[in-house]
Assembly symmetry: C2
Homo-oligomer: 123 residues x 2
DNA sequence: GCATAATATTGCTATTTGGCAATATAGCCA
DNA sequence: TGGCTATATTGCCAAATAGCAATATTATGC
């Protein structure tokens, strides 16, 4: 089992590529074969296979076996982990809490005083 | 202005590094100077500065100017974009819709029949 | 068994990334 | 002015990444 930090590394890294996000979007419409995933892109089949390996490594897709096909299906569970991580920051874009926080901490830092006196007149 | 796709590239790539996520976590407690951000890590100051540049490039932090300090503060707006993107997949981990979808599309694919007949007896 | 179709693997590139030490820049204060 | 502090920049390296063409693998169906 992967530690959650490394899990997030892999998931966010996988999501950082537009081709891979497009693949996930396609899979949201249902499972697909590799060739079906190749079609919409101007990329070679091996390249798509490599992307699929990255997605699989992040746990975002899983593969089936059906004749000579290896159908790819979306596995959204890791997205929940990612959503949860991001969700911890929700208040920072929903409220204007950040301003208050930033100000409070700025004061705090000034008081701790990193080897210098007080600031006198900003700017 | 950046296109939303490239924006997502940068944001997810920024979030893919544990050091950068830790920096954001620290900034959630309020703004900080570069040196304050260096302290908790066993990394050099230039390395942290480079991470900050990545975060800044993704729009996740912004810099101030105060004497010789360049205070770093969290800017959560891009996280909202990321959260929204991930949110489109919420039903896939909340409901068991995916199973239905996958099955439906599998049937569809079999009917379209990519150059072969029907499956006979799996495995 | 053989031809074909689907997918994976194997080199091979060019680019990007994360790290460092060393050095440069910039602002404060005495 | 000169020295100190905070931060940025530069130059370097090793590892990872995204892409390709070519080839190998695997299963089907005649």
């Amino acid at each position: 089992m992967l530690q959650s930090g490394q899990q997030l590394d892999l998931v966010f890294a996988a999501l950082a590529d537009p081709t891979r996000r497009a693949i996930l979007a396609r899979l949201a419409a249902g499972e697909a074969t590799v060739n079906e995933l190749v079609e919409p892109f101007d990329l070679s089949q091996p390249t798509i296979s490599k992307h699929l390996k990255v997605l699989e490594g992040a746990g975002l897709v899983s593969r089936g076996r059906e004749a000579q096909f290896r159908p790819v299906r979306l596995n959204a569970a890791p997205l929940e982990t990612a959503a949860h991580w991001i969700g911890d920051y929700r208040r920072f874009w929903e409220e204007s809490f950040d301003r208050l926080d930033a100000y409070a901490s700025e004061l705090h830092r000034k008081e701790k005083n990193h080897g210098r006196k007080r600031k006198r007149s900003s700017k």
